[in-house]
Symmetry: C2
Subunit: 394 residues, 2 copies
Amino acid sequence: MPDPLALPATGAWRPGDEPGHRQFFTFATDRRFALDSGTALSDVVVAYETWGRLDADASNAVLLCHAWTGDSHASGPAGRGHDTPGWWDDTVGPGKPIDTDKYFVVCANVLGGCQGSTGPASPHPDDGEPYGSRFPVVTIRDMVRAQARMMEHLGISRWMSVIGGSMGGMQALEWAVMYPRRVRSLIAIATCMQATAQQIAWGAIGRRAIGLDPKWRSGDYYDASPGDGPTEGLAIARMVAQVTFRSDNVFTDRFGRELADKATVGDTLGMWQRFEVERYLEYHGKKIATRFDANSYLSIGKAMDLHDVARGRGSLERAMARVTAPTLAVGIWSDMLYPAYQQRQIADILQARDVPVEYVEIDSPHGHDAFLINSDQLAEPIEQVLSTAAKSML
Amino acid sequence: MPDPLALPATGAWRPGDEPGHRQFFTFATDRRFALDSGTALSDVVVAYETWGRLDADASNAVLLCHAWTGDSHASGPAGRGHDTPGWWDDTVGPGKPIDTDKYFVVCANVLGGCQGSTGPASPHPDDGEPYGSRFPVVTIRDMVRAQARMMEHLGISRWMSVIGGSMGGMQALEWAVMYPRRVRSLIAIATCMQATAQQIAWGAIGRRAIGLDPKWRSGDYYDASPGDGPTEGLAIARMVAQVTFRSDNVFTDRFGRELADKATVGDTLGMWQRFEVERYLEYHGKKIATRFDANSYLSIGKAMDLHDVARGRGSLERAMARVTAPTLAVGIWSDMLYPAYQQRQIADILQARDVPVEYVEIDSPHGHDAFLINSDQLAEPIEQVLSTAAKSML
């Protein structure tokens, strides 16, 4: 068994990394946890963080769902195991829009992830070796089912609100479809009811890039030296994503046609001389490999491609007919990855069934990542949803 | 020296492939051909095709400039060395909008290409071995300078029109800037005056993917068995491009969330089970490797990233001030790669200097490739430009 405290081949959390705040819940110790793929997992760990205090009647709980390479650290400073502050630190905290003085806020690392929850880098219960290529395909619904087990563990029977952006929004939608009586309000941001062909295309390219990396070794690279896993394939996959997370206009404003390393290389014309935008993409590509596991990137990416609330439910309309939670759907006009029409579709399909729904558009040129960058624009709409939901919980 | 008739490691034209129509012009046999990068080439070959007859006063010549993986075969059926009909077969031919009964039409394979003109797969004059990693970076301006030599060889002193889409439009713009007295009209389609950061980003990702392929071997793979070159890296690079060439809407209409190979694999959830859109992208990825050389893909891609009519000319305005040719700028509303604002910028900058200019937008959901798919919408505007230019040549 590899040293659990050793740095992994590509970035993944290891026991000992926890900054104290992170908690762990293990289930499926007796009975296996069935997955959509027809397989099952044992000894499933959900790593999660909480902020605020749960009311005596457990009526003030809010679930946050994270995006692709996010984790449970939605709020709070950087620290051991988290090289950056919480991904929604401006939005979640005392006196902030998701006010932890009022609400008990929970965020769990998704199944398939690499920040404490069971994923491909986790030890297989049979032999203690990392799952690697043995890790089964998981779906957004599997992630939500694991969160539902955590919910029961926490003694919560209804979420005041389930909130998420991007893949977090996929989970939030599935929560409202799978467990309508457990969700009192829904905030779905920059997300979709089903992944489109173009979204799948971007995902497929990333998969191929990781698969091309000789160091990926079909997913069984965990015995590699630290940093000697499929870092280049993962970097390319991330570069594709990073372009789709941002926008043409902002890239032009920020990078234009500037050359990188100009001081050292001059401005001769070389095949591998980088433009500034390439340096930026490479930076993000390298960074992801230090903090995220390539197999988790594949696992979660595939879950997003498989995301389809209609799967096995007849149609989008029939699936969404299960949703009763008042809903805030949020789009971003500059989002090229999850274009705003997809969130308007969510609003339209609910409105047609008289579910209370509001559509709000973030006015930002930053593209998909505006749900992180310009979350200030969501302060008022989120506060409204939460205060209305709080009243309805009384 | 490798057998010139053997199939290359990735697709490139070899002597013997020519369908009869293709012609060759060699220059820089005495004096080297200087490149923007500060290096130079000897014995440069330009492969080109022509249609129609040149007038006695050489006043009816039209130059077509091809895009990334295009070649000189703009018109005519598939044949040896061309596995598809001409890339603008609907637009170029007898009685067609670019009427070869009236005009003498020329299309040259670009410098750096792999369809007969000098490129990385060509024999280095020093040793007869392929250039491979020795091939220098070329620019759009270098491509145009090589075409100018071909023009002189053909006895043409002015083009009635220079026409191109995508990278072809970059060449057309540089023609009008570099040789204003040789260009009587300009048609620039789905192109730009300078590559943006986002365009460079897509190019950079493709470069990295080819570079990651162990079979690329820093560009010196020409001794590999047929098809055993960096086909997978090239495929990934092409997959990125293919998504940017098309559109979200059309991908949804055409592929939706259909699974490929459904009959054989069922609809279980597997990591490498393909959606139909993935099958489509892989098809295009594999196909490019049979007909195009990976090093040429890199070479031409870099030339596009380096494309900037302002480079060394002070500013876009000062560069474009050299253009005197009446211009038709064509955009496509659904083009995510070269968005329509870029062609409106071309029109605006010329209009500000009172150069006769018209902006036309192709109304198509097909994205960038609409300049090929919906070229019928350009029939009338092109005919107008050509008939006006023909009169001005009298």
